[in-house]
């Protein structure tokens, strides 16, 4: 269709608002409430235009173009009206500077300290220079505001983590309310009161902490004024430079814009054109990046143990020392721990170094506890060749979503957004979890299962589908009969007893699963952590075959996939993570090279321990050599996110202290131990080699990535459709009189390398402290426990401490805690689980007892 704007004839395709069309054609129409991610609002009224034949002016942000429309955007009457509306807004917004005739001169003389109790004009506003209202006023030539300034005198809200809310600067565009509701699904804020008293607020004016806020910062990012500002950089100047990077704090791989000043990080924001995140991030990517780079726990200099004490030395000395000592051990006596938070290049060099120089295959990582590992092993064992790649965006297109073993709000905020979009488009969401999750608000069905009963839930579902839906075409799929027979042992009358779910609910679930397609099954560590995790995934795979669903394994760490792809290139497998720990305790492993998270090694009988990390952790005191590593922001390389997307990240700032990239450290050590094959100038050389050596990487080139090409890692090709006969692993975790509570783990991934993020960020600690031990109100009442009290958890294999956190949604008789790898040993639940590391992939749950005090 054709429309005319300001005499310019424009060809328009599809349903678009006049404002969008104008923006696409560089016709400026002022607007404050419109935002590309949000539904039209039509509140600020600055975007009014004149449409031929219409009596009233139309807001262009919510008026859709029609064929033949003639639109004027700049008639004198419109301009006047716009100015008067803007004056109204300014009458309630501190405006002294906006209309001051001396404003050009003022900038030169104003003091830099602007921390003021009350903002009266732009010069004193923390948002000066990045304010959309300021920009709009600039375009509208306001010379005076005919109304006296009206100060609304709202109390500035400063009690919440990360950002301040000063609604005296709010112009009620509603962007924050709408993004919180429409895009983030948190609905923590809303308009309250009416008329001139209208303001943005929370329910009963509670702090955001108690109102369901996830502190994703989306509201801060869309706020056009200084009403919402990040507290840490509130009075900083504008950034001198902004560089792109990739967030290393979960497996989604959000693209970030990192603001820099004086070569230091000011803050981080989600990138609007990020392929995965499209302008969204979560609390970690938005507010914690700076803290993790500039943590006071960063290791700044290489150290070696001399005369029983760690002493600072030069890199040359440290490397020589490590080389000398490592050479003393035979291959099998050495083990390395690497990390899924390191780049593909780093991990490749670790593998190569271990095999070619140290002659050991003992290289482990926490990868083995990931859903990806369990899923892939199940696929391998049954020769299914299941796809590891998926498209995150496909989740939003699903019509049925089945979620197991993951709290998306905490561990996968970006996946949460996709699920939300699907639900908005009419998808049915089924959640199976023992505790009530924030996402359950959007579910069609919540299956409150007994902890650890997923296997039986899935098996019962499969059986019901077979019994009610008939076998049909499914019977032609391989192994159908043996699968069907393996389900025969299930006694349907026991379903409630075992899973806590009634037969009726199961039938309803089965119906929902069959009703519509496409179906997406999302699962996380809660499903795979058990000793029978592999059987859980097999049961889910069977169910997916029955309902034609796609499986989405949701891992935690950002480069799990990269680590896996590098590792799978080596068919010979040494000791796994848990066996390395056991080896270190028994003395079979004599030298340990740590570049990844590891529980406190105080009981290990090691002769030589190298710690290559960014942060001081409890193993620091045990180390014989400490090598300071860079964080992701100080180096470069590639990550592969959970969907298999290859993501290039570049150096953003110079390293802190003498920290060096992990790949550099390894290549230097390797060069000292031999003279071939490790002479890399930079990461591009490593990737070039990788693309030749590792088949999965053959299609990857930096050049293509930098030119904006989307590259996905090569995936399994030989798929085989087959059911998997299931093996019932018997009873669930049983509590006893001695250990009456069941402990399970929250997988929050609130750590970067060995740094618990809550340790560095007081804000995050307020939202979710890794030392919290969550307990139901009933149990707390029974034990007379108050919030915040010290609590000791004991099992047959150890004990740890924490603080009571009463959570409504915790099921009675269970407690939960975060899984941190290197928190203070006293508080580390993982060291507690080490005794439980029998199965390679299992962390599991434990029957425990709890008592007040330390």
């Amino acid at each position: 269709m054709k429309i005319i704007i300001d005499g310019k004839e424009l060809e328009v395709e599809g349903k678009k608002t006049i404002l969008n069309i104008a923006q696409e054609n560089d016709i400026f129409i002022p607007s404050l409430c419109d935002h590309p991610r949000l539904a039209p609002f039509g509140g600020c009224r600055l975007c009014i235009v004149e449409i031929k034949g219409r009596k009233n002016y139309a807001p262009s942000c919510c008026t859709y173009a029609d064929d033949g429309m003639e639109i004027k955007t700049k008639t004198p009457r419109l301009q006047r009206l716009r100015r008067e509306i803007l004056e109204l807004i300014l009458s309630e917004h501190p405006n002294a500077c906006l209309i001051c005739s001396e404003k050009e001169n003022c900038d030169d003389y104003k003091s830099t300290i602007r921390k003021v109790g009350e903002t009266t004009g732009c010069v004193l506003c923390s948002n000066n220079g990045r304010c959309e209202l300021q920009d709009i006023v600039e375009t509208q030539q306001i010379e005076q505001v005919k109304f006296p300034s009206f100060y609304r005198d709202f109390e500035v809200k400063k009690s919440d983590p990360f950002f301040d809310r000063n609604y005296n600067l709010c112009i009620l565009c509603g962007r924050c309310v709408r993004i919180c509701h429409e895009v983030r699904g948190a609905s923590a804020i809303a308009f309250v009161n009416r008329g001139s008293q209208t303001v943005v607020g929370t329910v009963l004016d509670l702090p955001l902490l108690d109102s369901g806020c996830q502190f994703c910062g989306a509201c801060v990012d869309v706020c056009p004024t200084g009403a919402l500002t990040e507290r840490a950089i509130k009075y900083e100047m504008l950034p001198e430079e902004t560089k792109k990077s990739v967030c290393p704090l979960c497996s989604a791989g959000c693209e970030l814009k990192i603001d820099l000043m004086g070569g230091k990080i000011l803050g981080s924001k989600p990138s609007e054109d990020g392929a995965v995140n499209r302008g969204q991030a979560c609390v970690k990517g938005r507010f914690i990046i700076r803290d993790l780079v500039y943590s006071p726990r960063r290791i700044l200099k290489p150290l070696i143990r001399a005369n029983k004490k760690l002493e600072e030395v030069s890199w040359e000395e440290a490397l020589d020392f490590v080389t000398r000592r490592l050479k003393k051990y035979k291959g099998k006596e050495i083990a390395l721990i690497t990390s899924p938070q390191l780049s593909c290049e780093d991990n490749y060099l670790f593998q190569k170094f271990a095999r070619e120089r140290l002659k050991t295959e003992n290289i482990g990582s926490s990868y083995s506890f990931s859903p990806l590992a369990v899923y892939h092993e199940m696929s391998q064992k049954n020769q299914l060749g299941l796809a590891l790649n998926f498209k995150i965006r496909d989740i939003s297109k699903a019509k049925v979503i089945f979620l197991l073993g993951e709290d998306l709000a905490v561990s996968h905020p970006l996946i949460w957004l996709e699920v939300l979009e699907a639900v908005k488009n009419g998808a049915k969401l089924i959640v199976a979890s023992p505790n009530e999750l924030p996402l359950n608000r959007f579910s069609s069905l919540w299956l409150q299962i007994k902890p650890g009963s997923e296997f039986h839930l899935l098996s019962f579902l499969s059986r019901i589908l077979i019994e009610n839906g008939g076998a049909g075409r499914l019977s032609r799929i391989e192994e159908f009969d043996s699968f069907k027979n393996s389900l025969n042992k299930l006694d349907i009358s026991q379903v409630f007893e075992i899973t806590g779910i009634t037969e009726k609910e199961l039938i309803k679930t089965a119906r929902l699963l069959l009703e519509e397609e496409p179906a997406a099954f999302l699962f996380g560590m809660g499903l795979t952590q058990h000793p029978w995790g592999s059987q859980n995934v097999a049961a889910l795979q069977n169910l997916a075959l029955q309902t034609q669903a796609q499986l989405f394994p949701l891992g935690l760490e950002n480069n799990l996939r990269g680590l896996f792809e590098v590792g799978r290139n080596y068919p010979d497998k040494g000791l796994a993570f848990n066996k390395i720990i056991q080896g270190a305790s028994s003395g079979d492993i004599k030298a340990l090279y740590l570049a990844g998270p590891m529980p406190y090694l105080n009981k290990a009988k090691l002769e030589f321990l190298v710690l290559q990390d960014c942060y001081i952790n409890e193993n620091f005191e045990l180390a014989d050599a400490v090598l300071p590593a860079t964080t992701f922001a100080e180096t470069e390389g590639t990550f592969i996110n959970e969907e298999g997307r290859v993501q290039r990240f570049k150096k953003v700032v110079e390293p802190v202290g003498d920290a060096k990239p992990d790949w550099w450290v390894i290549s230097q050590l390797a060069c000292k131990m031999g003279n071939k094959g490790f002479n890399y100038k930079d990461v591009s050389g490593i990737m070039k080699e990788m693309s030749k050596v590792i088949p999965g990487f053959s299609n990857i080139s930096y050049l293509k990535l930098e030119n904006g090409k989307e590259i996905f890692i090569r995936d399994e090709k030989k798929r085989r459709k087959s059911f998997i006969p299931l093996k019932d692993n018997g009873p669930l975790y049983k509590t006893s009189k001695k250990y009456p509570y069941l402990l399970f783990v929250d997988y929050s991934l609130d750590y970067y390398r060995s740094l618990p993020l809550g340790r560095e960020s007081l804000g995050l600690r307020k939202i979710r402290d890794s030392r919290w031990i969550k307990i139901s109100p009933e149990d707390a009442k029974k034990l007379k426990l108050d919030e915040g009290e010290s609590l000791r958890v004991e099992s047959s294999s150890g004990s740890f401490n924490g603080f009571v956190k009463i959570i409504e949604s915790m099921p009675k008789g269970t407690i939960s805690t975060s899984l941190l790898w290197s928190e203070d040993s006293d508080f580390s639940a993982v060291s507690f689980f080490t005794g439980f590391f029998q199965e390679e992939n299992a962390l599991g749950m434990l029957p425990v007892k709890i008592k007040r005090g330390k």
């Binding site: 039509g42 509140g43 509306i85 109204l88 009458s91 009620l172 001139s196 209208t198």
Partner: protein
């Protein structure tokens, strides 16, 4: 007028009880509609009756119903707008408290006509006693088989719920009403889409005023022709005029549409109280532009009042005598609308609040030169420049008062 349509039984004792209602041949219209008529018949009849909406906008009810798509896979809803919030208006309260079954009959027939199986009566929160009475009437109707499953063996099902508002004027605006009914903040929605296609819970929805629906039973019983004769050819039936203010006999008067305003005040309401002189009349609820004493020789129908630059609105007539300061009227008007703006559109939210502040200042004797022009400028900027009609409703009466009584207001400013 000899035979009234709506208020005929208001004087009868206990008429709100279904036994009394049935004794007086109640629910005959429902029986006739469900047993003898098809939905198409009813729609034709209502269209022919030229029944225009009694809430204020005067949109023909039959046409509104015909906008609802016939074949949809979603449920359809009827929302009865009983959020009678327009200052001066109290007609729906009388219907609901004195003759609730008449409204229920209207609801049943309308639902049958449009193919609706769930109806909500959104009643303003302050009408607590009325809401209780409605709920009682609904339960009586269920017991007698006029609501619920398979009404009168016709195979038609209908459930009716009463939903009480929380005291916001804006929730009388139909889309804000839907938001509120959905449990959200009562802010108006962008239109299009209109509620007939996407309304309550994203489903096709009919929204009608209480008085509108209460006219339906007599249209069914006596026919469109009879109904039209009760009013004007293009504007059928009667209106319940609620007369308040300085008259001898304030109250509700059901009269033919097109009755002269002068007659309503001086004949029916028995003229001015205490022998005072008439100063001005607000003819259709607070948002209707004011009429001066010499403008009241006018027919009370939608079109005549529009021609006089006012509106019939909810037909609530507020009579103002010579002793009343026009500034006080202006103060009431501006305070009300600045308080009731939902806060979404800048001109209405901040504009109406500035107007109120200026008027209050004038009332305090601190008026300034240019105040009146500022009020006019602010009000004109609201006019036609907001999402919902509340903006217009706020601006129109203010502009009319200033236009017609400028001299008097100026005298307050200069003194």
């Amino acid at each position: 007028m000899k035979e009234k349509i709506l208020s005929k039984h208001f004087v009868l004792e206990n008429f709100y009880k279904i036994d009394v209602y049935l004794q007086k041949k109640g629910y005959q219209a429902v029986k006739k509609a469900l047993n003898e008529k098809t939905p198409e018949n009813i729609l034709e009849e209502v269209k022919a009756a030229n029944l225009r909406g009694r809430g204020g906008a005067g949109f023909p009810a039959g046409v509104k119903w015909s906008f609802v798509p016939q074949q949809v896979d979603k449920p359809k809803y009827l929302c009865v707008n009983a959020d009678e919030g327009e200052p001066g208006t109290f007609k729906d309260r009388y219907i609901m408290s004195h003759d609730p079954h008449l409204l229920l009959e209207g609801i049943i027939i309308t639902s049958y006509c449009v193919g609706i199986h769930t109806a909500f009566i959104y009643i303003r929160g302050e009408y607590e006693a009325v809401a209780l009475r409605l709920e009682k009437a609904i339960s009586e109707a269920y017991k007698n088989g006029f609501l619920g499953k398979n009404i009168l063996e016709s195979g038609f099902d209908l459930d009716v719920y009463v939903h009480r508002g929380a005291g916001a004027y804006i929730c009388g605006e139909e889309t804000a009403l839907l938001e509120s009914l959905e449990g959200k903040r009562g802010n108006p929605r962008l239109k299009p889409p209109f509620p007939a296609s996407i309304g309550l819970f994203q489903s096709p929805t009919v929204i009608n005023n209480v008085e509108t629906l209460s006219n339906i039973p007599s249209i069914i019983l006596k026919g469109a022709k009879w109904f039209c004769k009760k009013g004007l050819p293009e504007d059928g039936g009667t209106r319940i005029f609620g007369v308040s203010g300085m008259v001898k006999k304030p109250g509700i008067y059901e009269l033919s549409i097109g009755t002269n305003l002068k007659d309503i005040i001086f004949k029916h309401a028995k003229g001015m109280a205490e022998g005072k002189k008439l100063k001005a009349v607000i003819p259709g609820g607070l948002s209707a532009p004011i009429l001066k004493a010499d403008e009241i020789d006018i027919k009370m129908d939608f079109d005549s009042l529009v021609n006089a630059n006012s509106m019939l609105g909810s037909a609530a007539i507020v009579v103002i005598d010579e002793d009343t300061s026009i500034l006080d009227v202006l103060k009431v008007v501006t305070r009300f609308y600045s308080h009731e703006s939902c806060g979404q559109c800048t001109p209405c939210r901040i504009g109406s609040s500035w107007i109120n502040k200026i008027v209050r200042r004038i009332c305090d004797g601190k008026g300034k030169n240019g105040d009146i022009d500022n009020i006019i400028r602010l009000a004109s900027n609201i006019l036609g420049n907001t999402l919902c009609p509340l903006g217009d409703a706020a601006a129109m009466p203010i502009l009319a008062i200033i236009k017609k009584f400028r001299e008097e207001i100026e005298s307050y400013v200069s003194n």
